[in-house]
Subunit: 280 residues, 2 copies
Amino acid sequence: MKVIKSSLILGQKLKSLKRQGKSVGFVPTMGALHAGHLSLIREAGKENKAVVVSIFVNPAQFGPREDLKKYPRPLKKDLLLCQKAGVGYVFLPQEKDMYPEDFATYVNVRGLSEVLCGKSRPGHFQGVATVVNKLFNIIQPDRAYFGQKDAQQAVIIKKMVSDLNMPVKIKVMPTKREQGGLALSSRNAYLNSKERQDALVLSKALDLAQLLIKGGAKDANRITSRMKQLISQKKSARVDYIAIVNAKNLMPLRKIAQGCLIALAVRIGKTRLIDNIFVN
Amino acid sequence: MKVIKSSLILGQKLKSLKRQGKSVGFVPTMGALHAGHLSLIREAGKENKAVVVSIFVNPAQFGPREDLKKYPRPLKKDLLLCQKAGVGYVFLPQEKDMYPEDFATYVNVRGLSEVLCGKSRPGHFQGVATVVNKLFNIIQPDRAYFGQKDAQQAVIIKKMVSDLNMPVKIKVMPTKREQGGLALSSRNAYLNSKERQDALVLSKALDLAQLLIKGGAKDANRITSRMKQLISQKKSARVDYIAIVNAKNLMPLRKIAQGCLIALAVRIGKTRLIDNIFVN
């Protein structure tokens, strides 16, 4: 496994791989790797000759009052996990290279970026789209892998790739969960043991929605009300949003439709968690 | 010469070229080709195995009251010129493919896009950056060629390529001029014969600036005032801006410095023309 900080050197190495006709799979991460990331890496390994993982806590996607500073950075452990998982190249971009002082270019996916998480995190998805655009240009992967847990991010990246004709295939892999149902997230590390118990309410609320829908419920408002009710039973929980939307354009739906997305963001104490399911 | 409308087919053809190690030079145009474009094509031919020219009047870079509809589109003549010039591939993107109804992704180069021409053409450089980003992703050229006549455009494209780590080298070629000094532009076709005479005043004003500077003038305001004076002698002329700026960041300069850019935009009748020189 090669650990590379320079985009130029990485670019050269990958270029020579591609000249030999070898496919490249790419897993962009902010580190603090968990079983969710590892499932993306595993899939990338199955479908490509070489796997590149980037680890970069991207400042452009954090708001001024968000958790950029305290975001976990267990680099040694991450590198060990990558090595075990058979990663070929770990890319560790340096902030001063990614965003030099006079950096000025941003990619915006309009409409999709202002709803759901975008409402309480203005600028977040501009930061995501911009850094992923840069990483795709540096690495030029054949395929790139994202987790369904960040559903809106996946929709936005797919849209960017399609709108800007980027030559990469986007693969979205299912959310990995702990035994109680809690979706794996690097931010779960912020939770104390009481909060970790309370945090189960996110997936429980999604289970409830699924149950109601199986029982014939169609009205989106009624379903989200019931979910809100359930979540409000936890004192540490504060709902940011619960939404039932078209899974492609993220527009709100009044009635349940096949393939729609139920997504929510809830603060547990000071930690903002997200989760979602498709209705099938 | 192959004329191709589908980005997928063009992408495949170029991919197979690149697999053979052949370099690709790209000249993006809006058609109505003149000797300026042809000099870009010639240079691309010298430096690359294959030359791609795109012809696309990009609606995203025209304001609602601008000349999108009347912009000249002499396609047959353009194709003949390309063929004569030894172009390998002409790409004719279709508007519905480039901007499908739900198109939502835009590239912005902040700071550089709001000054000079950006002031009177809001959104123009967002449209330019976005379409060039798309074309680069479709064609993946080794080198792309732009004219110095559109100085701000060249600075913005270079900045986008650098900020977004796009794997392409940008080449900027000198402005081509008619005998009287008028910079070649597809928009010169809008001028009647009286206006064409008056339009000489743009390059004459730049000549005056150069003369003043050779004579020791340093103060930017004084120089631009003298230029304005000269231009105002033509009744059909209305100055949009005259600016002396740093050639890299386009920031206004008070004093002449080596390598600075003197740029101006002037309406001659209803036709907005631009021109510029470097001070050396």
